[in-house]
Symmetry: none
Subunit: 208 residues, 4 copies
Amino acid sequence: MFKKSEDKSYKRTLILDAAMKTFVKRGYSDTRVSEIAAEAKVAEGTLYNYFPSKEEILLALFDEKWGGIIDEIKKKISRLNNPNDKLKAIFSMVVTMFKKDRHLAEIFLIDIKQSSIFLNNYTINRVVEFIDLIEEILEEGKKKGIYRKNLDTRVAKMVIFGAAQGILLSWVLNESKAVKSRTFQFSLFRAARALKNIFKSGLMEERR
Amino acid sequence: MFKKSEDKSYKRTLILDAAMKTFVKRGYSDTRVSEIAAEAKVAEGTLYNYFPSKEEILLALFDEKWGGIIDEIKKKISRLNNPNDKLKAIFSMVVTMFKKDRHLAEIFLIDIKQSSIFLNNYTINRVVEFIDLIEEILEEGKKKGIYRKNLDTRVAKMVIFGAAQGILLSWVLNESKAVKSRTFQFSLFRAARALKNIFKSGLMEERR
Amino acid sequence: MFKKSEDKSYKRTLILDAAMKTFVKRGYSDTRVSEIAAEAKVAEGTLYNYFPSKEEILLALFDEKWGGIIDEIKKKISRLNNPNDKLKAIFSMVVTMFKKDRHLAEIFLIDIKQSSIFLNNYTINRVVEFIDLIEEILEEGKKKGIYRKNLDTRVAKMVIFGAAQGILLSWVLNESKAVKSRTFQFSLFRAARALKNIFKSGLMEERR
Amino acid sequence: MFKKSEDKSYKRTLILDAAMKTFVKRGYSDTRVSEIAAEAKVAEGTLYNYFPSKEEILLALFDEKWGGIIDEIKKKISRLNNPNDKLKAIFSMVVTMFKKDRHLAEIFLIDIKQSSIFLNNYTINRVVEFIDLIEEILEEGKKKGIYRKNLDTRVAKMVIFGAAQGILLSWVLNESKAVKSRTFQFSLFRAARALKNIFKSGLMEERR
DNA sequence: GATGAATGAGACTTCATTCAT
DNA sequence: TATGAATGAAGTCTCATTCAT
């Protein structure tokens, strides 16, 4: 009762959350509409009162969940000057948000290449937007003499993005306990700190 | 004719190559058995003379293609001493192989998390094996005083693995031309060199 | 307000009219209950306060709209003696009514054979009643020596009924403009006159 | 075995025949794909090896069954001169064909107005083609002084077409035994002869 | 009574797998 | 062994009907 009146799109959110959970767990193609419905605790038909198709659920998911993050990130870093602080702010926000909304982390990992849904679709652009944002910061840092003159920013942005994905993957798999290995055992915050160090100083021991 | 008699599993290879190409292009779930058959230029029924199911094709693929790489990598780095050289050798081999077999690069990108096929399955272990190989090298480097004492190797290995994935993604997307953006414009070799620099010295300008 | 209180079954009529319009436009099976509700400007649930099911709406429609016509026709021709006048009266009434209520014409065209609803159902009997009425008139005309002795009345009634359907179809299609062809271009009254001539004298030039 | 090799599109024909039977019995929208499959004694999936959708089955049906008749009719009447003979030939062929292929008669009765499939679709043109063919013959008859000068050919063609439909409807319903009434009891050939008489001399007793 | 969101049975269609040739 | 038509389980989606408000 309470929740319902609190937000007239309560069910819509329920469905999006359920979809996110299942898309991430099994992948888009292997997720059954019936699974999303069961997870959301509504009838299958109800999904179609809120979204015209399974595909539109995925697109809405990207648009609303992921798009929101980017907008927040952009607002935040616009108030910062130092490129280092900006990158740090980005990671800090991403990590914080992911800690808050576990499934958000997982959407970061959905394979953006495979599905033809994404290509020729503006949704992927929100991801590209994020990636290009990193490149801008790196370029700015080069101009200000903070980053190496010979830093290849086009490569670096993918490295940073990939690295972030890799860490999240570890974290997600670690908690899902699906894989038992030394590989996956760490806290997200500790990982973010380690990541910062790697990009700050590389892997090498300080030369004297 | 000739080829056929040369190797009694000629068709098997044909099918595996076709499967790799299509799995990578459309993802495992979105690939139709008929597509694999068409790509391999055999009848659908023929596939089932060589593999008991579609899933087994994927497993064989990982096992033979990817597994082969790991074995080669292990052999190669066992002859090296310096951890830096080992990492460099790994990347060099991966890059070279990917240049040679374009689709191999793409399999690297198949979402290893999504498919429930992979979890609870020994196949993922070949990937984990690769990732853990990196950790071993990093640990060795720490012991030898080459890498920072405070390097979190569990994080670092995922960062390196993710970074490699990110670069490959750029490369693959770049050539598919599906996405137009500053994001994806570079050669694989240049990228590998840039990656090395990032991990060697970080992003920062050398302090004097 | 006024209309509402004027007739406690005001909504019932609204719904029947809306149903007729949509059944005719799209056919019974392809008409959605939601379309009827929208056309009637009531909520879907409201329909079920007046009719127990979609099917019952169709049956009520036939019964009340079509049945009314037949009753009127029967009353009218009971006051006539000459079979020719009777047939003429029938056509005249049908044409006049169709001009007044466009959709009534269309219901005449609903395929009475297709829907299993109609078979084993008394509704079709109102149509059969109409058809048999024609036969009775023809038989009467034969007895009175007005129609040919060798006229096969069982065939003739279907011919007349079919002819009337054909003309209405032309008229309806003509106005819907859906089909562009010489086929469909004429006024209903002119058509009725032509129909009369055909049945009066056949197609042939008068022999002298 | 035998049948199969006799015609490589044996199954296709089976399916078309089954579809015709069921479409006619229940109407297009109320026919389930599973019913067609059952009638054809093949699996549901098999239908989709021959037709891309249920709708395409209907279109193929019209095109091949109905289209074939029109072509044959056109060829036949092109060898005749007298408009009366032409009309007679048309009816004779239609009747003969319908006697041979019972279901063909029924397709003649499928509601050509309801389904939006037919409008804006060339299929309906085959029906219109048939109807216009009648008009041409009537016009020719007028020019040659065989038919009445004041015959409205646009009306007459619909009357003739409607009449033919009416007769076929009687015949079909008669055999289906679904409706018990004096209405439907006659042989097709006798009906055709009666039809000819009606159009030749009208309903009226010969005036002396 | 009126509403329209929720429901779920059942429709069309896909596609991995089988099997007769 | 190779083929590809046939199969049918299972998927996505529709829509008549119900029911809480």
